[in-house]
Symmetry: C2
Subunit: 382 residues, 2 copies
């Protein structure tokens, strides 16, 4: 992914400022723009290229075409000592979600465990951001969201379920928290979008077509997925023999938790398009759970024991030829160490999008050294 | 699995009574024996042959050799409004777990969400039993447990993590609740034990050997796994290309939740054997979370919407050649409908174990029509 012809590197601070300025210019209040840019830069810092600055243009376009609102009016629908149901009123998913997770954490600090759900929301960026919030406050975090229909149920070829991340964060005594942030599909749309940008084929088994065969043309997959003609496979793959039904069930649980406790859309209603192909609000749902380990034991003992557990895993006997056993969050931590030095790689597609937004929003204070044509067609079709 | 030469069918009531009587004769108090037998019969009713009466002899042997205690003294270590930490004092996992989940449900009814953990416990049967408790009381249930080391981390060949079920139950307006009850490995030890009893090979990809190759001899796998020479693969399989790291992370999260909030054993300390091969207590940990949908919305609206979600999934476009799209809990519900008529199939290995326990415990009131030799060697080596 680090082909120097493909990428220009921007330092983290400049990239953050540009993203924040785009959000502000698009109508997002400054404090909220700070949150939105922080969620995106966290993804870039962690090496998750599919969900960081590569998605800025997507949010920008959704605001521009009035599919989602730049101002987030977060209202309380229902509250108990341990739970809260919030309505994001079609505002920014990142803003609603950060506030929701903080409420869950605050409730966990009082009651041992807390949960928040959000309805009428939008794409919230990396789920990992919110469980990271929990770990920074010495809590265990869990969260999930539904999303545009992508995964076909086992024995089906139709995209029904979102990639529905089921995401966990745990504080440790390592230099970084344990963060498992991934879709319940084998892979996720953002990764195929990255492959499409790079002109790379998708791995066989990631996607099935209408006839139940494996699809590999990543650009075609993205186009067909919006028409519900290809689907991602659940973790475990096609059929049941290697556990595809388990991934399907995890995705379904996330969909239930995200959509069924509120008025959020579910399944194919999350397409963001009406029957005539017009853009409509996504009305996504999210859920956030925080657990305070101090409700069970001394927090330092918990972090030490979790750290020991990870040390034992990392020290297990290696597969012949393998050089390292990773624990969740380690690759992202290593990516950040590198990117602090190198800056964030910006792909040519993202460079074009940056120049378009810069021009449209008149952000003259940035002088990007991008050798691309902003008017060239965007392959990912936003 | 329904080869008539292999199986004798026992009606549900007789099987339940026998299991309960075995537990009582082994020293389990009658009310607790009722719980233990109920957990096992639920597995048999649901068609999960690996975790029902086929495991009775395992519990019996563990009690007999004083590895676990028949009397369950459940003590409170720490409690908050939303959480509780319990110590099972090496008693019956089923008894401690049923009580723990009920406390989590009671806390959810008061605070919206509740959580219980149990340490110093033992094998608790099917995880599905406890989330089913939640659904019967109109709650969402989640639970998990660690277990004997079985799963190798991604890029390792060493069994470190238990099969660590991560299990969910949701009430619906269908004839049955949505219950996703499965290991975070592709398959689980009990299934391979069933295959070993039937003399069937394990599916390629389920198990890796010391050299990183697929192992398929199911009897050998069970023997080698106790010696930590073969390992189950996490959901997603070997390596990362098809998401094996996701299954590894889910298994790890369950291990953390089960063991790190308390003094429970973790990873290879859960083997039940000391370095000299002597039996020692397992000291397993479990966790239970209950969520009250009524804290968020009307319970009937929740069940209806979840039901609609499942109806949409079941009605999705089928893969060519597929006859039905299942939702979680459906196969188990169908199994129960059949087994109400046919009774529960008892394998020849289980028949031998039944006759051994009947003889040793002098349970003369049962007259089983089993044409097997109770003294024949038990292939699964308990």
């Amino acid at each position: 992914m680090n082909d120097s012809n493909e990428y220009v590197y921007l330092d983290i601070k400049t990239l953050f400022n540009f993203m924040k300025d785009v959000f502000i210019a698009a109508g997002v209040p400054e404090a909220d723009a700070d949150i939105c840019a922080d969620v995106l830069i966290e993804s870039d810092k962690r090496g998750i290229d599919s969900h960081g600055c590569a998605r800025l243009y997507m949010y920008y376009m959704r605001i521009k075409r009035k599919q989602q609102l730049p101002v987030t009016k977060l209202t309380i629908v229902k509250e108990t000592p341990g739970t809260i149901r919030l309505n994001a009123n079609n505002g920014m998913g990142q803003v609603a979600s950060k506030k929701a997770m903080q409420i869950a954490i605050d409730k966990a600090k009082k009651n041992g465990i807390g949960m928040a759900i959000v309805e009428n929301s939008n794409h919230f960026g990396i789920a990992g951001y919110y469980v990271l919030m929990a770990t920074k406050q010495d809590c265990i975090g869990m969260c999930g969201t539904n999303a545009r229909p992508s995964i076909a149920p086992t024995w089906s070829v139709e995209p029904m379920l979102g990639t529905n991340p089921f995401t966990f964060g745990v504080p440790t005594d390592w230099d970084f928290p344990w963060i498992a942030d991934h879709a319940t599909s084998i892979t996720q749309r953002g990764k195929i979008e990255t492959y499409a940008r790079l002109g790379k084929d998708a791995v066989k088994g990631w996607v099935i077509d209408e006839n139940g065969n494996a699809a590999t043309d990543s650009k075609q997959i993205i186009t067909d997925m919006l028409k519900l003609k290809t689907a991602l496979t659940p973790l475990g793959g096609i059929g049941e023999e290697l556990g595809g039904h388990k991934g399907y069930n995890y995705a379904t649980f996330v969909e239930i938790m995200s959509a069924c406790l509120s008025q959020a859309n579910m399944l194919q209603a999350c397409l963001g398009l009406d029957k005539n192909g017009n853009f409509v609000p996504y009305n996504l749902g999210h859920f956030f759970i925080a657990i305070d380990p101090a409700a069970f034991c001394e927090i330092d003992a918990f972090k030490k024991k979790t750290g020991d557990l990870l040390r034992q895993l990392a020290g297990a006997k290696k597969q012949p030829g393998a050089s390292h056993i990773y624990v969740a969050g380690e690759k992202e931590y290593l990516a950040y160490q590198e990117r602090k030095r190198t800056g964030i790689p910006i792909s040519r597609v993202t460079q074009r999008q940056f120049l378009k937004m810069q021009r449209e929003l008149n952000l003259v204070q940035y002088d990007f050294a991008f050798d691309v044509d902003p008017d060239e067609e965007d392959v990912t079709g936003w």
